[in-house]
């Protein structure tokens, strides 16, 4: 899947979204940008790991059902990588896998469909918690 150019802006937290569905991507892009975040999209777990190492985003939002490395495996890979483990992971899936997301080390879980207020509020809350609990990396 084509990797879209990052919408990087000064002072904006960067969110890496792992999502294949074009409608979900379009809505996530719109609502997260509207809320003041920079959003980068990838379409599979392998590309997500690659981009995470390049960009070191503040948050990864991932669907579970993505190719190559699924969202839960991606989450485990992030947690086991010393350079990535401070990145907050939000599993946002059509599947009801709350407990599996927890076991994989996710910081939060949301079930689809997209409800913009809930998504944006969760992201904001996670960013605040990240600043408190993982001060090693300053959120911009």
């Amino acid at each position: 899947m084509k990797t879209e150019a990052p919408v990087a802006h000064e002072g904006r937290a960067l969110i890496l979204v792992v999502e294949r569905d074009p409608h979900v991507r379009a809505l996530e892009s719109y609502f997260l940008n509207e809320a003041g975040f920079s959003v980068e999209f990838v379409g599979d777990g392998e590309a997500a790991l690659e981009r995470a190492r390049e960009l070191h985003p503040d948050i990864i939002i991932s669907e579970v059902l993505v190719p190559k490395i699924d969202g839960l495996a991606l989450c485990r890979a992030v947690r086991s990588d010393a350079k990535l483990r401070d990145i907050v992971v939000l599993i946002f899936s059509i599947l009801a896998v709350e407990s599996r997301a927890k076991e994989a080390g996710a910081d939060a879980f949301l079930r689809k469909p997209l409800a913009e207020r809930r998504l944006v509020d969760t992201v904001r809350e996670l960013l605040v918690l990240r600043r408190v609990s993982r001060p090693s990396r300053e959120t911009t």
Binding site: V24, L27, S99, K102, A106, A108, R111, E125
Partner: protein, 472 residues
């Protein structure tokens, strides 16, 4: 893992059962609690069946101020008609129009831009309006735009993808026929399909609702009758039997019939929770026997429901007085009358009224006089049979003792007509009233069947005097 995850989990558990209420408790009841939330639903039916009213009632019910609700007309339903017609209903609230409920006519956009204009419009609307509910009326009319089947499938897939991605519930209304279900791709993506239909019955029409599909949830199958009133749809869910076991059958408790001598013929009275069918020709004394049974209960302080289709309340009062009882005292004691004119009789509504009365609790005796009137009001005898069977099961489960009268032709006691109409096997007891062949001025009574009772099988004479009926 932050605490938020556990919150999210609890939220998700709730979400899997999220329902969009229709604004009509009975419609929600047959849907197992309402339409599924975050879903695509189809409401199908020929013009005039009530689709728009169902949708409007749902919209006004869900106008709670948090997010707007959209009503989009396409190519067949003029927006002005939709808006002006809804004002006739009691659920209409002008204060929410244009703010919480937003009407849009997409006809011109569709006519020039084709179906893709709808997807594009909805994509923008989701971003800028955050709609909680989207109604598209008529969705079937979009098929009239001359595009290929392949393009239509692509359009539906794209539209369904968009609507499924967002937290909204969509209703596609359309004049679909049964054959359209296999023909049109929107039926494959629909989470729920509800059909509204209208069938002529003598001088009036009967309307029915039927759930054809409901993903991830149980629902009440079959035809459910409804009427359109000023309040919107008035629906009568098809009565089904109780889930609880029939406990009365193990009970040996009996209640007196109110007919001197009859209890002895039936092993000591009527078993609590049993149903007794009283059959006979006109004038044989069925109503007298049934009324005495009811008055006996009322006299004992029991709540009684007397369902009658022929004698109006004044006539019933007179009949009570003719049996030597004071009508005022009887009604005060607990004699309840449910009267429905046979001309206006709709079996669904009467059955639901009876059921509601016994479900409310306290009723110990029920009389239905006469079941033949119900039969003549039913366009489908099997439906009446199913309803009666279910009612009788509910009576049994709740310990309600009932008497049902049946107009039966000469020589049909327990056989012929009774068997044909399949009423006799439903009842625990069967009593036939008639006259002696050699002396037609002498009434007879015979207990043909008395389940779980050692009953007297003889044909006995009985008489109706100033104080009612008694075994001679």
């Amino acid at each position: 893992m932050i605490e938020h995850l556990d919150d999210a989990r609890a939220q998700d558990d709730d979400e899997s059962f999220e329902r969009i209420k229709s604004g009509n408790d009975q419609v929600d009841e047959i849907l197992g609690g309402g339409f599924p939330g975050n879903s695509i639903n189809i409401v199908m039916g020929q013009p005039g069946t009530g689709k728009t009213i169902l949708a409007e009632q749902l919209l006004f019910h869900n106008a709670t101020g948090d997010r707007p609700l959209l009503y989009l007309t396409t190519l067949s339903e003029p927006l002005s008609k939709v808006v002006s017609y809804v004002q006739r209903f009691s659920f209409f609230d002008p204060d929410v129009l244009g703010t919480e409920i937003q009407y849009e006519d997409l006809g011109p956009s569709l006519a020039t831009g084709g179906p893709a204009a709808l997807t594009a419009w909805l994509g923008d609307a989701i971003k800028t309006r955050s709609p909680k509910v989207i109604i598209i009326d008529s969705f079937r009319a979009i098929h009239d735009l001359a595009i290929s089947g392949e393009d239509m499938r692509r359009f539906i897939s794209d539209l369904a993808g968009l609507l499924s991605a967002y937290n909204t519930t969509t209703f596609l209304l359309g004049e679909y026929t049964q054959g359209d279900i296999e023909r049109y791709p929107e039926f494959a993506v629909a989470d729920a399909i509800v059909q509204l239909a209208r069938q002529p019955l003598s001088t009036r029409d009967e309307r029915f609702m039927r759930v054809l599909k409901l993903r991830g949830s149980g629902y009440r199958e079959g035809q459910h009758a409804f009427r359109i009133t000023r309040e919107g749809l008035q629906l009568y869910p098809r009565l089904v039997g109780p889930r609880e076991p029939e406990s009365y059958r193990s009970s040996s408790e009996r209640v007196p019939s109110g007919i001197p001598g009859l209890d002895a013929m039936m092993g000591g009275g009527l078993l609590v929770g049993s149903t007794t069918l009283i059959a006979g020709m006109t004038g044989a004394g069925k109503t007298t026997v049934a009324l005495q049974f009811a008055l006996e209960g009322a006299g004992r302080g029991e709540r009684v429901l007397y369902v009658n289709f022929q004698e109006n309340p004044a006539q019933i009062r007179r009949a009570i007085a003719n049996l030597g009882h004071d009508p005022d005292s009887a009604f005060k004691d607990g004699f309840g009358l449910l009267y429905a004119s046979p001309v206006e009789l709709q079996i669904d509504s009467i059955v639901v009224e009876i059921f509601d009365a016994i479900r409310a609790g306290g009723v110990r005796r029920v009389v239905i006089d006469a079941v033949g009137d119900l039969a003549s009001a039913a366009n489908d005898p099997r439906r009446l049979h199913d309803y009666l069977y279910s009612l009788i099961q509910h009576f049994a489960a709740r310990g309600v003792t009932s008497v049902i009268t049946l107009e039966a032709g000469e020589g049909s006691f327990g056989m012929g007509t009774l068997s044909d109409q399949r009423f006799s096997y439903m009842s625990d007891n069967l009593i036939a009233l008639g006259w002696l062949a050699a002396k037609p001025d002498r009434r007879t009574i015979r207990v043909i069947k008395a389940r779980s009772s050692d009953h007297n099988r003889e044909t006995r004479e009985f008489e109706i005097g100033a104080d009612g009926a008694r075994i001679a």
